[in-house]
Symmetry: C2
Subunit: 451 residues, 2 copies
Amino acid sequence: MDSVKTLLPDSALPTHWYNLAADFPEPLDPVLHPGTHEPVGPEDLAPLFPPALIEQEVSTERWIPIPDEVRQVLLQWRCTPLYRARRWEEALGTPARIYYKYEGVSPSGSHKPNTAVPQAFYNREAGIRKITTETGAGQWGSSLALACRMFGLECLVYMVRVSFEQKPYRRAFMETFDATCIPSPSESTEAGRAILAEDPECRGSLGIAISEAVEVAAQSADTSYCLGSVLNHVLLHQTVIGQEAREQLEAVGESPDVIVGCTGGGSNFAGIAFPFLGEGLRDGRLPRVVAVEPAACPTLTKGPLAYDYGDTAHLTPLVKMNTLGSSFVPPGFHSGGLRYHGMAPMVSHCRKLGLLEARSFHQLETFAAGVGFAQAEGILPAPEANHAVIGAQREAERCREEGRADTILFNLCGHGNFDMQAYSDYHAGKLHDYDYPNEEIAMALAGLPSL
Amino acid sequence: MDSVKTLLPDSALPTHWYNLAADFPEPLDPVLHPGTHEPVGPEDLAPLFPPALIEQEVSTERWIPIPDEVRQVLLQWRCTPLYRARRWEEALGTPARIYYKYEGVSPSGSHKPNTAVPQAFYNREAGIRKITTETGAGQWGSSLALACRMFGLECLVYMVRVSFEQKPYRRAFMETFDATCIPSPSESTEAGRAILAEDPECRGSLGIAISEAVEVAAQSADTSYCLGSVLNHVLLHQTVIGQEAREQLEAVGESPDVIVGCTGGGSNFAGIAFPFLGEGLRDGRLPRVVAVEPAACPTLTKGPLAYDYGDTAHLTPLVKMNTLGSSFVPPGFHSGGLRYHGMAPMVSHCRKLGLLEARSFHQLETFAAGVGFAQAEGILPAPEANHAVIGAQREAERCREEGRADTILFNLCGHGNFDMQAYSDYHAGKLHDYDYPNEEIAMALAGLPSL
């Protein structure tokens, strides 16, 4: 019997998160105050985040302990399986050995609970009663709703309006866990009202929803804001993925030649890649690392590295990142989780340091790759994860052409069970590709803050 | 760290299916030919099923080996986890220890692939090129589509029309695996045309869809029919569930005082219960076993044990089972997988022998139990599985009242990711209970064949 999966016992769940900031050859650029453009201190972030998360945000400690209560909840579905994609390798006719880490076994079907759980935990520890957040496709909102329910917190989710309407089932999922879900832009915030006054039909964006959630959190001492990607502490929490994968690959005598992840805000990518990058920076043997993004929102491949806001209303601090401009609204392709104008500062920093390669793909080719993967492996990926799938497939095809038996590792960050409308449309021939939004990007970049 | 889940290594995947027929104190009643009413022989079943499955259908061997190629595919997601429901126990305030076996980790999200895979395998071995089947909620059709794709078979699914319209995403899932999905009743069969001639608006039923699928299979030598529940060989394939659960409970030093499963056709229930019942029959220490069904389709609690047809058009053989009458069309409640007029002959036989207790619950109380379970455990059950959840909850409440620390085991046969419309309706107060359909049952029972 060929083993296709590698499981780990509960005892193998990492006890610490890994912080790549400890191993960067040069430090991250400072985060700047949106008003003064001066570096922010912890006190500037206090209205939004509890102290423990602010500390993690700025930490350069290599290993940060995971609280027992958080590990206890993570153990519900972790350690997640690592699969060898034997049937897919055969279908692709590649000599490569392809492994994928499968985060779809979590209760909400993606990697997002890895950070939702500790964020809810630290907020409860700090005496916070209520959390606000934004969500695009709904993966993050669902995960935070679940985590808040487990730690007895209220949860208010601003959901990008176009997704709110397209994905009523995600809302039903959040409501099952007692969260409140509001379509964004909404009349409930100043930021939302300002947008609606200009465009009553506005379909919303992650940048707008962030503005609304941040505005509400900043107004009450017992309310915090949580973000599902981009920030250093969020990426940190995802490093359980790569640490487990490393141990699982070691158990089968492998180490990856190339690691592939999809990038929206950057967190699932960081989760799989950072522990390997850190090790490579320490021992000088770096694996190739490939970040895959949608051609219609090409943050890493087309966006300059610049200081920019995380949201549309410019309530967030300024961070140095690859960005398409905070006013950029990506076209309506189906990977809602990848429709963000910016990229995590730590992932952007990796790009600058030459630690990763970035590629972009068009929508239809990502779905074709995802269907091929599903037919071989039986798991239907989320549209976001299809970007990692096509990235891994291109590497496998390269191996076929070069006659090389590389070891490819990719992160299958979630299943597509809540994205079946996208697959329906794909099967019916209703999906199409979007051109690179070059003009829109140029306009949005023209509005970058001058420092 | 309290361990909440028990995993098993690949090597623990059962090598044999367990056949309860070997341990029944009295044998099952024979299956009768629909025309002659004489016991059928293997040759009567040959137009529909390959020889290996016919052999399993009538076997009284206790252990039937699982082919290596089947085990290899099952290993993709098996062994499935066994969870201790610590947070739910706490929420219920019960001294009981509650364990649940979670079959939702399979690629289609339920226990159904456990039998879809061997059925596809044996058909391919027999040179069959195409499979027909029926599906209600879509769990079975999805699982068979997946299995057929893996073994290179065509797959034609007749989907009950009301579900076809309510659940377009299940169709998209099947199409991802290249299956063809037709709403039933359809114009493509004699059985379908006859129904439509009488009622052009007919919403369909599992009984009708079975008639259509059987008719198509019977017409071509290279086409077989597959059923997702009810038959002996289907129940047999599900016994991996109970065998694994037994080993997992043993690993934590437990044996179940009571075992709970939901019953539609009976296969997930048999999967969890039969290995324990067999052991109990052999050593004289039987656990309590509770079968839970919808009040609106109360096959075990209100249906007599009688010879009846498995389908509406009376193309199938006659089997001795608890039945509500083959013309009974259950009301439109949300557990499509439990909307069947009959019950597996082996489960019916257990009822007759006093090996199980049967209970029925109304729709709203099952959803309330499912939401409570989800809030505690993080997993949103399928509406069908909510029947097992409420059954386990009632046992836990009994333990609370009696101050007893029983060990309760139940089968969480699938997740609700594809059933979010039902949860949306529940949250919006749009779901309602159905009265016991006493009159409809009386009418349908009046039409039972007289032998």
